[in-house]
């Protein structure tokens, strides 16, 4: 079983039949900097604005709650920004470790279903055999800050 570790990846190890050192799927070793320094010494550090925060909360339905939460978010972004250090010019993005596998095609047979009772067992509320949800999409209140 293959274990994908960051260091192996950067060293340009072969991980696919079509890959190999110098192939377009394998990036060149990059300058790996230190861990994210507190306070944001990374050149791309940007303040997370209220608009961005509002947008994120709306999209992902998370609540950053207080300034400590926002700080943590800021730090997380800085840490992720390290990815910009790697030179990926001419490298094809990899979006699935399964890219060299074949997508299994299933026959068109009915093999599942008919488990209404089981599905509804965990539902907090139900009406006849329907799940109950709040009405439509309730708009979130805008952030003050």
């Amino acid at each position: 079983m293959r274990v994908l570790s960051v260091s192996r990846w950067l060293r340009g190890a072969v991980r696919a039949p079509s890959g190999g050192p110098g192939s377009p799927q394998v990036p060149q070793p990059g300058r790996r900097e230190r861990e994210a320094a507190p306070g944001g010494s990374c050149p791309r550090a940007e303040k997370v604005t209220v608009d961005v925060l509002d947008h994120l909360e709306h999209l992902a339905l998370v609540d950053f709650r207080d300034s400590e939460g926002v700080e943590r978010l800021q730090k997380a972004i800085q840490f992720a920004d390290q990815l910009h250090e790697v030179n990926t010019d001419g490298v094809e993005p990899m979006d699935s470790v399964l890219e060299d596998r074949c997508l299994y095609l299933r026959e068109d047979d009915v093999t599942e279903g008919n488990c209404t009772k089981e599905l509804l067992k965990n539902a907090k509320e139900k009406v006849e055999e329907y799940f109950v949800a709040p009405p439509g999409n309730i708009p979130l209140p805008k952030l003050e800050e």
Partner: protein, 544 residues
């Protein structure tokens, strides 16, 4: 068929009534350059013409036994949440497994629409929150869909009598495989939504058309043709009333030569007729809005069939950010053709594009051409035949069992049978007159045993569906043509003897008066004389 023109170049104008200041008559869509009288060119009224732009996004439910990524059944109107698997309900620990039949359906459709099939296509996640989307994302194909760059040809009649048809094409941007969502039933009184996941996970083909259309009529014709193609292929039943074919229209207007205007999306269109109405209404609304100095918002509107207009939809405020990301649980979908097919692959794991191509049935356009060639009917007739479910088979059955020429039979099918069915809202299958009965009737007519008027009378009786044969009705109502030539001659003579003035006029050279005598003979025989024969007999007596 003639080479297709893309887009209609339709130009809409608003004509203001002088001085009235009230609402002006509707603009007209001019098709293929021939402007109708109401369209006013720029300059005369001072108002610049408008060019409407219509693009369509069509979702067709794939006709398959099980869903796209799970083995639960595809079944319309099943008891709530009874055909839902753990994957469809998005329970943790479940994974998508693609249904081979859905892939084949998409390939068939792509080939029928002249698309390039991508031998390697990818799946993505489209994220948004809604109660009927339990996973919080829909698996779709945003980056590399299964088919791209196709065309759809459709025809429009340029007048109401269907005597002149124009062929147009619309470009197909892409076809992608994606999951359907569940159904939400909004209960506003109790402030809650009831969710049924039976439909969640059903396979859909989204057909994205480029904005090459200019009015409701074109949109409706294009969708109708797509519907016929899908039904012919069997990849989708495409019944709009059952939600198997859903159409969203993107509409905008602009002045010729200027950039495209802001577009609105119109949803909740439940039939092809409403599609034409919704599109035309939205075009009109946008023109009015802009001419009154307002702006068109980039919004989603719903078509209200009762009011016949589009209204803003709630729940869709603001632009959505779907945060597309690759679907990590699905490797690329690889399709093969005979050249690229590896030698030892398991058949069941292979979708061969060439194999599917060889087995495509005749598409509607090919069927129509064959009907025209085989039976000598007009292209317009072939359209009507294919448009009504079962009518082609009916027509071909009648032709098989009668001596009457197909060119004459088609008249009876389209003028008599079809108008009766439409009047009583019956389908061909529900027709009280079967193809064999109609064939019998037409045979009586063809053998000159009854006149054409009598045949129509018999047909009226047959519609009652009382089980009588045409011959029985003819005998009952004494509609047979008089075959006895001598008897006919005697009647002709009697009429001649009674109409001295007319006889003189005919002998003097006015042959038109002959028709009056023929009419009199018809009356005497109660319509049971063959007018051609009567004319011959009268002419023989008077002009020789």
């Amino acid at each position: 068929m003639a080479a297709a023109a893309r887009g209609c170049g339709g130009v809409w104008c608003r004509v203001w009534q002088c001085g009235a200041g009230g609402s002006a008559p509707r603009g007209q869509c001019s098709v293929a350059g021939s402007a109708r009288s109401a369209a006013v060119p720029a300059g005369k009224s001072g108002l610049a013409p408008w060019v409407p732009v219509v693009g369509l996004e069509i979702h067709a439910q794939i006709s398959s036994n099980s869903k796209l990524f799970s083995g639960s059944q595809v079944q319309f109107a099943a008891p709530p949440n009874s055909v839902v698997s753990f994957f469809d309900a998005s329970l943790p620990g479940t994974l998508p497994v693609i249904n081979r039949r859905c892939v084949e359906a998409a390939v068939m459709t792509g080939l029928a629409l002249n698309c390039s099939i991508n031998k390697r296509s990818l799946f993505d996640r489209k994220h948004y929150f809604y109660a009927d989307l339990p996973a919080g994302y829909q698996i779709t194909q945003q980056r590399v869909p299964i088919a791209v760059n196709g065309t759809l040809s459709y025809s429009l009649c340029t007048d109401n009598k269907m005597s002149q048809m124009v062929t147009k094409t619309v470009r197909i941007k892409q076809i992608q495989l994606e999951q359907d969502s569940g159904k939400s039933l909004h209960d506003d009184t109790r402030s809650q939504t009831l969710v049924d996941l039976n439909r969640a996970g059903v396979g859909l083909m989204e057909v994205v058309m480029e904005p090459d259309m200019c009015c409701g009529e074109e949109a409706a014709a294009a969708v109708r043709e797509l519907q016929l193609i899908l039904q012919t292929l069997g990849s989708s039943h495409a019944v709009m009333a059952e939600g198997q074919l859903r159409v969203d229209a993107n509409v905008s207007v602009h002045h010729p030569g200027e950039p495209y205007g802001v577009r609105t999306e119109v949803k909740n269109i439940n039939s092809i007729r409403f599609l034409a109405k919704a599109v035309d209404h939205e075009i009109q609304r946008q023109i009015e809005e802009l001419e009154n100095g307002g702006t068109v918002l980039n919004e989603t509107r719903a078509f209200d069939s009762k009011l016949g207009c589009t209204v803003p939809m709630r729940d869709k405020e603001g632009k959505q950010d779907y945060r597309f990301m690759p679907e990590p649980n699905l490797p690329p979908l690889i399709l093969y053709d005979t050249k690229s097919l590896p030698a030892n692959m398991n058949h069941q794991q292979v979708v061969n594009i060439d194999w599917i191509h060889e087995r495509l049935p005749d598409l509607p356009s090919v069927k129509r051409a064959k009907l025209v060639e085989q039976y000598g009917i007009l292209p317009e007739h072939s359209f009507t035949l294919l448009n009504e479910d079962g009518l082609t088979e009916f027509f071909e059955n009648v032709v098989k069992h009668t001596q009457m020429k197909p060119k004459k039979v088609i008249g009876w099918i389209l003028n008599d049978l079809l108008s009766y069915l439409n009047q009583h809202s019956l389908t061909v299958k529900e027709s009280p007159v079967s193809s064999s009965i109609l064939a019998d009737l037409l045979n009586l007519l063809e053998r000159k045993e009854i006149s054409s008027t009598a045949a129509k009378q018999v047909l009226v009786e047959l519609w009652k569906g009382e089980g009588k044969t045409p011959l029985e009705i003819v005998k009952e109502k004494k509609l047979e043509l008089i075959q006895d030539q001598e008897a006919l001659e005697q009647i002709c003579q009697a009429v001649i003897d009674g109409q001295e003035n007319e006889v003189m006029a005919i002998k003097a050279g006015n042959h038109k008066v002959l028709n009056k005598l023929i009419g009199l003979v018809q009356r005497r025989t109660q319509g049971r004389s063959n007018p051609v024969l009567v004319k011959q007999l009268l002419e023989k007596k008077l002009l020789e």
